[in-house]
Amino acid sequence: MRWLKFLFSALILGLLLYALSSPLGPIPFALGNFLNPYRGFWQNAEPETPKDSEPLVLEGLQQSVEVVFDERFVPHIFAENEHDLFFVQGYLTAKDRLWQMEFQTHAAAGRLSEIVGPGPNGAVLNFDRTMRRKGMVYGANQSLAGFESNATTKLVINAYTEGVNSFIGSLKPADYPLEYKILGYKPEAWTTLKCALLLKYLSDMLAGGDDDLENTRMRALLGQNTFETIFPDFPRNVPPIIPAGTKWDFKPAIVPPVPANYAPDSLLAIVPETPRNKNLGSNNWAVAPSKSTTGHAILANDPHLSLNLPALWYEVQLHAPGYNAYGVSLPGSPCIILGFNDSIAWGATNGSEGVADYYRVKFKDASEQEYLSPEGWKKTTLRVEVIGIKGQPSMLDTVRYTDLGPVIYDKRFGDQPFPIAYQWMGNQIGNELLTFYSFNKAKGYSDYLQGLQSYVCPAQNFIFASTQGEIALWHQGRFVNYWKDQGKYLLDAANPEHRWQSFTPFEDHPHVYNPAQGYIASTNQQPTDNTYPYHYVGGYDYTRAPRINTLLSNSAQVSPDMMKQFQLDNYYVLAEQLLPLMLSGLDSTRLTSIELRARNYLKGWNYTYIRGAQGASIFEKWSSQLYEDIWQDEFDPMESPKMWPSWSTTMDILKDSIEFSFYKNIQTGLMTNRNALLQQSFREAVAALEKDEPDPAQWTWENSKRTDIRHLSRSLPAFSRMDMHTDGRKAVLNATDKNWGPSWRLVIDMAYEPVAWGVWPGGVSGNPGSHRYDSFVDDWAAGKYYLLWKMKSAADKSREVRFRQQYNAR
């Protein structure tokens, strides 16, 4: 009887322990592990006020390194040599951001299913397959070969990797970052390949994919003329980055002619939607000393990217003999990516041209072992992708590689009867890391130029300002010397003329140095006017460039404070250009009282997207309704992949045409003119607004748009900052949208000792249990800046220090 009691009790105990050590129901973690205060989530509850700690010995360091944490907890690393500098950069970044570093490189490598499962409707698995099929790991290996071919960058990534692994090696299960505990997995060793993967991740975000297949389909469906009308190559009346009329200081290479019997392919490809964010954008501009109140060059930069926590950037100062750079780095990559040193400052905006091309591939037979190339049948390379899936058997995906790159779509992926290969500039060997390293150490313009040479992808507008009073910009990347329209549509892998024949020489890339107008501004608009000898196509900005050019050219002298105001400017050029026309189309005798109130808000509105503006919400609703009324009836029924006309084109059509074929509603068959369309869309927009909120006074912009800074997993609102009240909108200079926005704002006065202000929507730590997780977010949302502190030495006492940490060699 007693034994029976014991056995019964033991059974209950066993069941209890089993239940506590397994994930239950929808919760991915085991409750016993998770709640255990000695190992579980409580261990990630970081003290509000960190304490000074004892010097730490790190195996692998060559000399002592001191790290000073300033009042915002930004680390300033002081090393005696560059090996130790990057070792500690890796160590500290991992300490603050390990989970993010691994998650983003897993995403790049198509390994997310491994940790989160296939996702709803297989969305995560599909993402992984797309990454594999784009050849992201292949591309990262190419990049790594580039980094390793140079002794300096080889040392840099090796030291950084050692540092990251030194931190990972010190971890006990209790120390794992919180997300590992929630998702129930472990950090793996860092590798130099992961550094390359991280940069590839950014490259893919900024320059991956292209509209070739969409262009091909749209042209085939709409016919050449209509296609060219509603999808023009460039928006009208946008000042290019390189000021119009700038004389080219090079003799261009021969631009190949369009092949004699070329006709764009008309394949209606059926490929999976790969949504690319076309609102990606960034600003940078600089004024020369002649146009600045301080008498020095002033530079401003704010890249607009996905808003996430942990934030994309990691602010840090890197100091060693011959090295003193400050700015933001990417967790997973060594060096400062955007920032300044004692002599120069640099910033970047995305280049925005298409640098990926798609080719129709012909296999010899069903075995897919040979494909037709210009030199005849060639062997394909086989790569079997093994995609791990949490809680399920792995999936195998066979990917064939041609000399152009991987076959991205075929009958196995995308249900595409014609195999299509993907050739991407991101898979070319270059050395982007050497560029950033060179910028970090540059003493002046010639070092900056030297650094640019090895840069391949993603193409960027690298702006430059120096303490010598110079300003410059290079539109840099590797570019194909295309014939007109080459790479706009699907190409043929077997045709030699369809292939990339040569690249444009570096000296010929769009650039400008100390322009007469005294300023340079880039906002992802087209880089050049039509005097540029080479061909390119891309998706270019048309609203921010006119605005910043107006602001800069209208100011005789610009101060650093004005530069900040420009970054926070919410004026929408499209509304300025379109709203008067839209209002003129309304027949006020036919408006109801609430419609009249809405019209009055619009009439009194100054085209700025500030929180309290009702006009902004009404314009937003009305213009999107108008857009739908024009295009939706024709475009909705089309099959994917498809493209929608841009707002710039829509506006031009509205301005030019009282009658236009797309105004007609093909469902009702009613032909309608511009005014009827305006009246109708206004009525619909006001009705939609009224349905949600009867009082027009409440139709403020902040009630229409909120900003969510989501946790990287996108599934943990508790670790996110949701529903933030922010000014701005995509396509205004302060491009703060729902999930996108200025990810780093920098303004720097290039005095003898540069004075810089900056802010970013995040915090130093990636730990949701840390008070430093989102500590800059509120100031960022309020448009505040911090005065940055580039310390002269570890002993610099000019400002307050939180604490210090010394790392010693063994």
């Binding site: 014991f6 105990l13 709640l35 205060p37 000695y38 509850a45 509000e48 508790a718 949701p768």
Partner: protein, 132 residues
Amino acid sequence: MRFILKTLLIAAAAYGLLLFLPFWSAALAAFVIAAAMSRRRRKKLYGKSPAKPWAFWSGFVGVALVWGIHAWVLDSANASLLSGKIAQMLTSKASVPGFGPAMMLLLTTLIGGLIGGMGALTGNLLGEAVRN
């Protein structure tokens, strides 16, 4: 007195093991101490022995203390930042008003207690079974 001693011994053993082993080591500590300190049951005159529930409670209190106090210390240094977020995460599907940091502490203490209590009860029963 014996109850208090047993409780403290379980707490000390659990603390020692938890520093090196996963959460189930708390049950192991309670089990071993309870088994070692169990006594031969005296002959009952009538009814049931009152000793059994005490066996459970010494483990419950011992481990609940070791879990609750440690969590509470970490939570106060953190100003309840993380416990609030975790509470929000756990109730994201079905909102539970008032489920916050205090509830996370309570939940942690109770789960710790349950592990310790069941460990001690089982250990005690084993001890009794062996000794009788």
